[in-house]
Symmetry: C2
Subunit: 190 residues, 2 copies
């Protein structure tokens, strides 16, 4: 394993712990750093992750004790809105809330997909490698109080529960983030 | 007049000419430069303009022959969408088009406001000064074929025509961009 020490760029220690748990590799040492990095405007989550991770790499040169930086991005794309809001989801939630988001597509197609992009920036080579996990489902009236953001209004295909109705263990088996981290795990041990 | 030479950051020579005409000061020399600058995610047009102009100043240090860089940003905020899309309007148009935008607020409030932000970055001092022009109105079914983007679906208060039905001369008397450039003009001659 070439990458042994990963610094998760987040203001949230809980997120770092979640990532650590989902990757589940004892051999990897995790740390976290809070960096206020700009996110660029785009509907392409990979472009957003690329820019943010490049910025993180620039700052993390100071961090001599890690092999890689890790950033994550999320998108929610509604079929009825032709792919909007995508990675711009946080602004929709900010202004419309969960209910307003569902109201926006009332009477239209309820299909949606959610993506998690994990970008790993290798400090030594400045290379950026991305791992994406996507889950299709639909947008429904808010149900459940687990999770955060849009969790209560997204119901994955093949489930009768929304993310908001699933406990962490259940969600971690199927979620877009779990899928992305599984790909990263496979890459780390290969 | 301290600022005599302004480089407009745009890929579009036509835009530079329009700005030159609207400012209407013979004493100012205009040039333009195409720079592919990232736009950050925000609903605050001033924050977006600040970041972009700072980036432009960084690049324009090469340009020894100008006093200032000029960037512009546009926002369209719908009352029914609680201020969305704001500066994110281009992504809405990209995915939904003019008609999809109007369809989104069908049966809801049609009130909207449009803003133009002109950011002037002073090369010598690296200071950024912003001039904003805003116009209130409403979103209507597309009418007219002048202008571009959302021009045909925006009807300013006090007018029976959309921007898309107005010729350049008429629009330039009342538009959000004209208001912002008028403020810049006042500042340049003061």
């Amino acid at each position: 394993m070439k990458i042994k020490r990963i610094v998760v760029i987040t203001g949230n220690a809980g997120k770092m712990e979640e990532i650590k748990t989902l990757i589940g590799l004892e051999a990897i040492e995790f740390g976290y750093q809070s960096l206020d990095l700009p996110e660029i405007q785009s509907l392409d989550i990979r472009e957003i992750g690329q820019f943010k991770t490049k910025m993180a790499l620039t700052h993390s040169r100071l961090i001599e004790s890690y092999d890689a930086v890790l950033t994550d991005d999320t998108a929610l794309s509604s079929d009825a809105l032709h792919g909007l809001p995508g990675p711009l989801i946080k602004w929709f939630l900010d202004r419309l809330g969960q209910d307003g988001l569902v109201e926006l597509i009332k009477g239209k197609e309820d299909g949606a997909s959610v993506s998690c992009l994990i970008s790993l920036g290798i400090i030594k080579t400045q290379e950026i490698i991305q791992f994406e996990g996507a889950v299709t489902g639909k947008l429904v009236q808010a149900k459940g109080s687990y999770g955060f953001g849009w969790d209560p209004v997204f119901m994955p295909d093949g489930s009768v529960l929304t993310y908001g109705e699933m406990g962490a263990d259940e969600k971690n088996k199927i979620s877009h983030r779990a899928l992305a981290l599984q790909k990263l795990r496979d890459w780390l041990i290969s």
